[in-house]
């Protein structure tokens, strides 16, 4: 006698998968940080005191060379540059023959990543130096002091300055 075999297939095995109905949105966000340089400490003063030699009346270069001042700044760009512009020390009184009323010098600004300098003997700024990103002190140093003729220094008050310019090239 043949025995019928009933084979029942569960319905779940044949059901088709459920189709997903989700949706995705994306928001892309971007921004920019501009190249910037900023001085935290933008001003300083170097007071040289008496700059002539007591015995001879001529320039005492030791009163100028090696004198320093410290500024503080940062730049956030890899291509930032630093430029120095020096202005000679002068006094308003005219200098007759044998006398000088001007002191020239070299000003050098140094940061950890580079340095730039300028001599007041030549007009305009010195060559820009790449300093990149930095955040810290700028040491300004005076050197190579001289007077035009090596003559006697005219009495008076002498003033000059070293200008340090940071340019945030992107």
């Amino acid at each position: 006698m043949r025995m019928p075999i009933l084979l029942t297939i569960p319905a779940v095995l044949v059901a088709s998968p459920v189709l997903a109905q989700s949706a995705t949105g994306s928001v892309e966000v971007d921004g920019v940080v501009a190249g910037r340089c900023l001085f935290g400490l933008p001003n300083a003063t170097i007071s040289l005191g008496e700059i002539s030699l007591p015995g001879t009346g001529r320039l005492d270069v030791s009163k100028v060379n090696g004198r320093t001042a410290t500024l503080n700044a940062w730049c956030n760009g890899a291509a930032a540059t630093m430029t120095v512009t020096t202005t000679q020390l002068t006094t308003p009184t005219a200098a007759p023959g044998g006398f000088d009323n001007r002191v020239d010098y070299t000003g050098t600004a140094s940061v950890t990543s580079g340095s730039a300098s300028d001599s007041s003997l030549t007009a305009g700024a010195g060559t820009p130096a790449n300093v990149g990103r930095f955040n810290g002190d700028i040491l300004v140093t005076l050197s190579a002091a001289s007077s035009p003729t090596g003559g006697l220094m005219v009495a008076g008050a002498y003033t000059g300055n070293v200008l340090v310019t940071l340019t945030p090239v992107n």
Partner: protein
């Protein structure tokens, strides 16, 4: 159905976005110094003027003062580094080392004129007028004011040597001095 929505927020597309800053930053180091007003006189050359024999040793003026050639002393590279300086000359007559009062007809003093030139337009001159006994031997004079800083060789000339009353000079060694002072006109007196 799958839906994809993409929304890009581009900074450059935003009309209110600030311009990218490229401005430079500057720091300044001020430098000041000073040169004090000063005058320096060069060392006198010669430092000692030896007139030798002061009295005539022969002829009608024997014993009286001889003709003495003017003497010049240089003070090289003297300078003042400011405007408004002046030279003062203070001369003291030559007097004999014998300090006793001379007998009538004799003198123990020799007067002269000291003149400093080559500093300002007007020379500095002093003429001594000591008495025969050597009293009141000192005289002084100011030159005109030098209006600029100046460096020069100041020339000091001693001349016009005379004896009070043209009297006979007593024997002995005679000494005098000239003091040259270079300084600011305002306090030269």
């Amino acid at each position: 159905m799958k839906r994809l929505v993409s929304l890009a927020l581009l900074a450059m597309a935003l009309p209110a976005a600030p311009a990218l800053a490229q401005s430079t930053a500057t720091g300044n180091v001020a430098i000041d110094g000073r040169v004090a007003p000063v005058c320096i006189l060069g060392d006198p050359n010669p430092a000692l003027v030896n007139l030798g024999q002061l009295s005539a040793s022969s002829g009608p003026r024997t014993g009286k003062i001889a003709t003495i050639t003017p003497q010049t002393v240089q003070l090289p590279a003297s300078f003042c580094n400011f405007a408004g300086s002046v030279v003062r000359v203070t001369a003291t007559a030559l007097t004999s080392s014998d300090t006793s009062v001379p007998q009538p007809g004799f003198s123990r003093a020799v007067n002269y004129t000291a003149t400093a030139t080559n500093w300002a337009a007007g020379a500095s001159t002093a003429t001594t007028n000591a008495l025969r006994d050597g009293t009141s031997p000192t005289a002084s004079g100011l030159g005109s004011t030098q209006p600029l800083p100046k460096i020069a060789d100041i020339a000091l000339t001693l001349s016009n040597f005379t004896a009070p009353g043209d009297l006979i000079l007593v024997a002995g060694t005679y000494n005098g001095t000239v003091v040259v002072t270079l300084g600011p006109a305002a306090v030269a007196d």
